[in-house]
């Protein structure tokens, strides 16, 4: 399974995790994670805080290292090999809870930095692509502003444009709306729905169940470092099988 050559193979499953375990010191955060994601699949991961959801997706672009098991991204296994990690990171975009925009660069420069420095693209071409994606997230007029001048929702949309500008095959979203004021959540979710409709492979950690029902192909419920249940949204919300899933859903839907 999976090429050992380190070359991207877009016929392979987008992501494949086999028996992945991770520990923080003595603490067992990820327990025997097995997950396969097909290209263009949209997965929403939910679960109580501390259940390992963020750690799981952060393992995929190796912001965290796993200690047992295997992770393949488009057929390439994640190892200590720095070159391979870079190949994979170019194909995987990520959006963070706290945006993590670079405060010393304008919105446009945030989007073009990796294009010019990683893809070695001429500035004019990079600017064109950057503007395209700022238009897609509906804030082209903010291109020359600095992150400190933007609202939270605008910052998160720039962050999405920044990740998309690299034309990744896979997008990871780590609680993209949980640091936002309620009135700004919708503008970010709208952009994410657009993206889902374009056929992007997406892994989204979120508590926005409305969004999940609308776009997810599959729901993944995690608790205590394990994947407890995986199911299409209709089944997951209407007819959860596991007791813990039921409890979680009742807590999150009934307030």
């Amino acid at each position: 399974m999976g090429s050992e050559t380190g070359a991207i193979n877009d016929k392979a499953p987008a992501i494949k995790m086999v028996g992945v375990h991770k520990w923080f010191g003595q603490f067992h955060v990820l327990k025997d994670i097995n997950l396969e994601v097909e290209p263009a699949e949209r997965i929403v991961i939910c679960g109580p805080s501390g259940s390992g959801k963020s750690t799981l997706i952060r393992c995929i672009n190796r912001l965290e290292t796993h200690q047992q098991g295997q992770i393949f991204v488009e057929g390439v296994e994640l190892t200590e090999d720095v070159k391979r990690i870079h190949t994979i990171r170019r194909e995987v975009g990520m959006v963070f809870q706290h945006f993590n925009l670079f405060p010393h660069l304008t919105a446009l420069e945030n989007c073009t930095l990796a294009l010019t420095r990683v893809r070695k693209m001429p500035k004019a071409e990079a600017d064109k692509i950057g503007m395209e994606y700022l238009e897609m997230v509906r804030i082209p007029e903010q291109a020359q502003k600095y992150p400190g001048q933007l609202s939270g929702g605008q910052q998160q949309r720039v962050a999405i444009a920044r990740a998309l500008a690299m034309k990744p095959h896979i997008m990871l979203f780590d609680e993209p709306t949980s640091a936002l004021d309620p009135e700004m959540i919708a503008e970010v979710l709208d952009v994410m729905v657009d993206l889902a409709e374009s056929g992007m492979t997406m892994l989204v950690v979120t508590h926005e169940m409305g969004f999940a029902k609308q776009v997810a192909n599959r729901m993944v419920f995690m608790d205590g470092g394990e994947i407890i249940e995986q199911a299409p949204p209709s089944e997951f919300f209407e007819n959860p099988k596991n007791e813990r899933t039921k409890l979680f859903l009742s807590q999150i839907l009934n307030h």
Partner: protein, 397 residues
């Protein structure tokens, strides 16, 4: 007035009392009182000083600056004879202070930067060792450290058993002797070529940036270093190495020729550098740590390498935090060089506020002039700093 604020009688509500309760009136009255008190204090001091000086028979004024000093100065970058004036002493003192600062600041910066980065190393042992250095040096008075370095220098062999490094550099308890370059014809040309090379390197760097913007790739990465190092080297060789080294020569009692760095300067310099670098190291560490972990993660996640992440994301943000307090450390180093007076390095405090003051008794004039010198230095650096802060401030809403 503050006794019982709850009940206000009719009498209090009108007239002076009521007006005094108006904050603006109160402010004006208070300010007038402060100003009056300040003026009174100044007059009181001026009056006392005049009376005291008259009783002591000291005349005031700056005429003494033109009188011959009558003493020699052990180390000076410009020529100095005992027949020179106190004005000349003032100049020599200023130059010597600025000289030790100029030698100390780059060294402290380099050492502090290295220590600050090592302090953040993932290597446990290195981190600990640097931590020990910082905690020792920061918690012991600088003056004591300077004495300590001088004591260490005094354990070096005496002049006739000097430690020799390759028969060109000599070290003994009195001084450090270095070869001194003696320039010949053509040295000026080499200097000129070096200056031109720096200019060309700037242009080349700009051209490479332009190419990267146009094509995405900056060509000829060796170009800038080649210009900087190569051109001067070619010029030196073409002129047939236009200088000779004047090697210090051992005499009966002392060395002659070469560059003599007195033990006092070495001890002062070592003390200032080692002490200031510990503070700079902490500033550098705090500056790099002030950039949030998320910045690094976002940069790596978008495919930048570790090196690019450091150069393009972490450092530009850290530098804004690091520069202002580091500048004030440079200022501290300059002010702390006044400890020279304790070990006999002739800085402005030692020769002017010390020897000249003792000889002339013109305490007020001399202390005022010396303070003015330090104030000019700090004010110019503060102004530069304010300008830098404004220029690099992050744009916020």
């Amino acid at each position: 007035m503050s006794g019982a604020p709850s009940t206000i009688t009719a009498k209090e509500a009108s007239g002076l009392a009521a007006r005094l309760r108006d904050p603006r009136v109160r402010g004006a009255v208070f300010q007038a009182l402060v100003a009056l008190g300040f003026v009174a204090l100044v007059l009181f001091i001026a009056n006392n000083t005049a009376a005291n000086l008259a009783a002591l028979g000291v005349s005031t004024g700056f005429d003494f600056l033109n009188q011959p000093a009558g003493f020699d100065i052990s180390f000076s970058l410009i020529s100095f004879e005992p027949t020179d004036t106190h004005m000349r002493v003032f100049t020599v003192g200023m130059i010597n202070t600025l000289f030790v600062a100029a030698l100390g600041i780059p060294a402290a910066m380099v050492l502090g930067l290295a220590m600050g980065i090592l302090r953040l190393s993932p290597n446990w042992l290195v981190k600990r060792l640097v931590g020990i250095y910082i905690e020792i040096v920061r918690n012991v008075p600088l003056l004591l450290q300077i004495f300590f370095w001088q004591a260490v220098i005094w354990t070096l062999p005496p002049v006739r058993d000097s430690i020799a490094l390759g028969n060109a550099v000599f070290l003994n308890k009195r001084a450090l002797y270095l070869p001194k370059p003696a320039f010949e014809d053509g040295a000026g040309l080499v200097l000129l070529v070096a200056i031109v090379a720096i200019g060309l390197a700037f242009l080349a760097a700009r051209w490479r940036r332009g190419r990267r913007a146009e094509t995405g790739r900056a060509p000829y990465p060796w170009l800038v270093p080649a210009l900087l190092m190569g051109l001067p080297l070619v010029a030196i060789l073409a002129m047939g190495v236009p200088w000779t080294w004047e090697i210090p020569e051992a005499g009966r009692f002392n060395f002659s020729g070469g560059l003599q760095v007195p033990d006092t300067l070495v001890a002062l310099w070592l003390g200032l550098v080692v002490y200031t670098a510990a503070f700079i190291a902490e500033i550098v560490r705090a500056g790099i740590q002030s950039v949030s972990k998320g910045q690094r993660e976002a940069a790596l996640a978008s495919g930048l390498t570790q090196g690019q992440t450091m150069n393009l994301i972490i450092l530009p943000q850290a530098v804004r935090v690091i520069v202002p307090p580091t500048t004030s450390q440079f200022l501290n180093l300059t002010k702390n060089s006044s400890l020279a007076v304790f070990i006999g390095y002739p800085d402005i405090v030692a020769v002017f506020a010390g020897t000249s003051l003792n000889q002339t008794g013109q305490a007020i004039e001399i202390i005022a002039l010396s303070m003015l010198f330090y104030l000019v230095v700090s004010l110019s650096i503060s102004l530069l700093m304010n300008w830098y802060n404004r220029a690099t401030a992050l744009v916020e809403r």
